[in-house]
Symmetry: C2
Subunit: 190 residues, 2 copies
DNA sequence: GCTAACCTGTGATAATCGTCACATAATTAC
DNA sequence: GTAATTATGTGACGATTATCACAGGTTAGC
């Protein structure tokens, strides 16, 4: 839990008492590669703090897998819409490697947040980071071409390029696998 | 302030006392058409609850305006990254019509949130809605073609289609103005 | 080690899109 | 009302991309 505590302290002031109050909401869980953290049609009742490994969010449309996000160590993965509203999730979250996560249970978390304002603040900050990340990647498509989007990842998220295969990255960047391969080749020649 | 209070009650439990404590953080402000709510390079210290009118977020890159978001009545506009981190904003927010907004001042809001957990919870819920919206529009690009993205707006956000001109909508949908005009024409023939 | 599954590269071709140019509304300012 | 500005439609053409097909390389499981 050390990593999580560090993560929390990087976000907000957090007393030992808050940490204690938070404990009932936390549960460590290991996932195998290709094991689902959240399945389409289920309600998302957890925030997944990723301790080790990485996962992705994906839609399955007409039998085709469309990756919409990748989440790595010291990030929180969730379906924020489903988590917040209680509606069913329209997408899946799956482990891309053996993964260790600490789950924040929604009900217990809300319970704890009522007792300690610091926990409520922590929740707000987690969601804020999540929103910032969504905004960042959303804007990529409005501001840049496919080639520039790849370049952006190379500069700003090199870890993603290193760990995610070209095929997986393609739908995330909104292009066909073959196109991404050709873009990468063209970029290397320049 | 009636609209705002309704909005708040739709999000969370909110006592009269919380509403009173929140007052010092609120300020009503009118903007003319084409007046900036937030300017690139400034730090965003407000959440803008939109009472009447609408605004957009846009980047200016190489002299070209790229619209990244539109915000209408009963929504909150802000630069969540700048607001949360205190860093300078990389984009502008501008009124597209005469606009009335209620500004949440960051400093005062945080002060109030320390005194009332309900206000902290409200903040979390506002950000959650914001994150959901970002996620929704971000995924459009990964899941759908340009034509399908237009169709999605027609079905799910008809108000946006009605109020935002084709030229303005184009960069938001990630296509050239001329392309959007042709897509619309093709769709009408079917 | 061997097989099967997955990943990457590449050619051909059709579809889509961006850009430039210009014409015609529609709106705004005075 | 008139002029100026802005918004939209459209043709032409080059650039980019999706799709299908297939080959070779890499990885993982047994």
């Amino acid at each position: 839990m050390d990593n999580l505590l560090k993560y929390i302290h990087s976000l907000t002031v957090f007393s030992d008492k808050s940490w204690e109050l938070l404990q009932p909401a936390l549960a460590k869980k290991a996932f195998q590669k290709n094991e689902l953290l959240l399945k389409e049609g289920e309600v998302c009742n957890s925030l997944f703090y990723i301790e080790k490994g990485y996962c992705k969010t994906y839609y399955e449309i007409d039998g085709m897998v469309k990756n919409t996000g990748f989440f790595f160590e010291n990030e929180i993965a969730t379906n924020i819409t489903s988590f917040g509203s209680g509606r069913k999730s329209e997408f899946n979250i799956i482990a891309c490697e053996p993964l260790t996560a600490i789950l924040f249970d929604k009900k217990e978390l809300f319970q704890a947040a009522k007792q300690a304002n610091e926990i409520e603040t922590l929740g707000r900050n987690c969601i804020r980071l999540f929103a910032s990340k969504q905004e960042e990647f959303s804007n990529l498509f409005k501001l840049y071409s496919a080639r520039e989007r790849l370049q952006y990842l190379e500069v700003n998220h090199p870890g993603m390029i290193q760990r995610v295969s070209l095929s997986q990255l393609a739908s995330f960047l909104g292009v066909a696998r073959e196109t991404l391969s050709r873009i990468r080749k063209r970029r290397m020649l320049m």
